[in-house]
């Protein structure tokens, strides 16, 4: 009985030391920390797109992927085809579950779009998006490729392999950094950035952050007016046009008359 307390104390001490060792190793490798700069974007009169910088601390030797996803919305598109030897719209297609924007950055060691991989890239997107309406004979796979092509032509979709660079190493963790170039036609809304950490081909950690984009100043006022007071907006548009037309006609009066 008398030797028991020292044994307990020794066991407690060993447990505390072990716990401290585990915690210290966890904090030095660290959970991935995703930092987004800026966290908010304001679309104003001279907005022409923006650059968003993302940085994250990941375990040393691990790969990383950062996705930027826009709000999910329905797209109404026209499918082109050949009729009577001429190319024209042959039907309407509705796209469901497609994010308005999808941009992807990866570290150099990762393939941008793992075949069959469930986590990221166009393949993952393809599994989620649904097409309805006038589908081509080849099925929706061909339609998905064309949809991506259309979005890429606007700068709203893009896969940028090796664009997350290693910028520093400290202890068991590395810092990776990359930039998203958002085009001038990016829509206001709530965007989600998702960091996936991959080690030995397996997803080991995920973290997400928000990027809020809103419209301010004159564009914001006009956008709200056009939606909430459409008739007033239309009448103002016509009056502005009539007034400018008359003003220009009046200004040119002296020079124009024959």
């Amino acid at each position: 009985m008398g030797s028991r307390p020292p044994f307990i104390w020794t066991a407690v001490l060993v447990a505390l030391v072990l716990q401290a060792m585990i915690l210290s190793s966890y904090s030095s490798a660290g959970p991935p920390s995703l930092l987004v700069v800026p966290g908010n974007l304001h679309i104003k009169e001279s907005f022409r797109g923006a650059t968003v910088t993302v940085s994250a601390e990941v375990p040393k030797g691990a790969g990383a992927v950062v996705e930027l996803k826009g709000p999910v919305e329905e797209d109404h598109l026209l499918r082109k085809g050949r009729r009577g030897g001429l190319w024209m719209s042959v039907g309407e297609v509705t796209v469901h579950e497609a994010p308005s924007t999808y941009l992807l950055l990866t570290t150099p060691d990762l393939p941008p779009d793992e075949e069959g991989g469930p986590q990221w890239g166009y393949k993952a997107l393809e599994r989620r998006i649904r097409f309805e309406g006038s589908l081509p004979k080849q099925g929706s796979e061909a339609l998905f490729d064309q949809f991506v092509k259309l979005k890429e032509s606007e700068g709203l979709y893009g896969v940028l392999p090796s664009s997350l660079r290693l910028v520093g190493t400290s202890g068991d963790s590395s810092t990776v950094e990359g930039q998203f170039r958002l085009p001038g036609n990016i829509a206001p809304g709530s965007y989600r950035l998702v960091l996936s950490v991959i080690n030995s081909g397996k997803l080991v950690e995920q973290q997400s952050a928000e990027l809020a984009i809103d419209m301010q100043g004159l564009p914001g006022i006009l956008f709200a007016l056009a939606l909430r007071h459409a008739l007033l907006y239309g009448v103002i548009a016509v009056l502005v046009a009539l007034a400018t037309g008359f003003l220009m006609g009046f200004l040119f009066k002296g020079k124009g008359a024959h």
Binding site: S46, L218, L222, F252
Partner: protein, 309 residues
């Protein structure tokens, strides 16, 4: 320096000088030929990254300014026949309403796009070729024919027009005809304009020249007067039903187009009628060839956003 401007309804950012330049160029053509220029401006705006439906609606808004400016300039020169313009406008509104219903039926049958594209190419081709050849012939004959008296028997068309009831004189145009004729012709142009989704100036101008026998300078002023009313209606309708009028885009375009329209109207006064017709015919044929190429060459992307012309 950042010369880009954000367009809230288009949801895109475009260089300010591109918009002023586009407005100026199309406004110049508008003042010169009496066409609204929608058949040129909408595709050009789409190339600049504006969604089709916003491009078409905002273009209508800027045409209101360009046609106000150009109608005012032509009115001062005595080139607007208000009586004829109102008759064509009434016919155009009735025809346009009929055309919109016709398109609805075609869309339900799934043939709308085919009909629209083919009508566009055929109309542009027929109007452009006829006007081009006729003007070329007139230009060649003009010096030799001076002093000749027209002695030929009136054509079947002229006799038919003269046989219509309620003949009245249109002083500005210098023609005497029944009001039924401009009402019917305005109606036909209205139907075609609704099918093609354009203001119809490029069809109305040849109709006034060849079917109503109006002098070219009065045709330009009267056509602009009619386009002004059509586009006021379209702008308000688009703003209310589709929320697709971008005022910032329209203002930048109209700043360019109202200035361009003044220069166009002045040049139109200096050129002969046949010279004007031959240049407009060439422009119409170029647009027709571009449209034909779009129909024949496989598109780069097989999907497009819904809306627009």
């Amino acid at each position: 320096m950042n010369w880009n401007v954000y367009l809230p309804i288009a949801g895109n950012s475009v260089n300010i000088f591109i918009l002023l330049g586009l407005g100026g160029a199309v406004g110049f053509l508008s003042g010169l030929f009496g066409v609204g220029g929608g058949f040129l401006m909408t595709p050009l705006l789409m190339m600049a990254g504006i969604p089709p439906v916003v491009a078409a609606a905002s273009d209508s808004n800027q045409i209101v300014a360009a046609s106000t400016s150009a109608t005012y300039a032509h009115y001062r020169m005595g080139n607007v026949d208000f009586k004829m313009g109102f008759l064509l406008l009434i016919g155009g509104v009735l025809g346009g309403t009929l055309g919109v219903h016709f398109i609805k039926v075609l869309r339900a049958l799934g043939n709308a796009d085919f009909v629209i594209k083919v009508t566009y190419v055929v109309m542009l081709g027929v109007v452009g070729s006829y006007m081009f050849l006729e003007s070329l012939q007139s230009l060649r004959k003009a010096p030799a024919d001076t002093g000749k008296v027209e002695s030929a028997r009136p054509s079947l068309y002229v006799r038919a027009v003269r046989s219509l009831p309620w003949q009245m004189t249109f002083k500005k145009s210098g023609v005497t005809l029944s009001p039924i004729l401009p009402l019917i012709l305005g109606g036909i142009v209205g139907i075609l304009a609704a099918i093609m989704g354009v203001g119809g100036g490029f069809i109305m101008v040849p109709v006034m020249v060849y079917m109503l026998r109006m002098p070219m300078h009065v045709v330009v002023g009267t056509s602009l007067f009619q386009i002004l009313f059509t586009c006021v209606n379209v702008t308000i309708m688009q703003a209310v039903t589709n929320h697709s009028v971008d005022v910032i885009l329209a203002v930048l375009l109209l700043l360019g187009s109202t200035v361009g329209a003044q220069f166009g109207a002045r040049l139109s006064q200096r050129l002969k009628g046949d010279q004007l017709k031959i240049v407009l015919a060439s422009l119409v044929l170029v647009v027709m060839i571009q449209m034909l190429a779009d129909l024949i060459i496989p598109p780069h992307i097989m999907l497009a956003y819904k809306g627009g012309h």
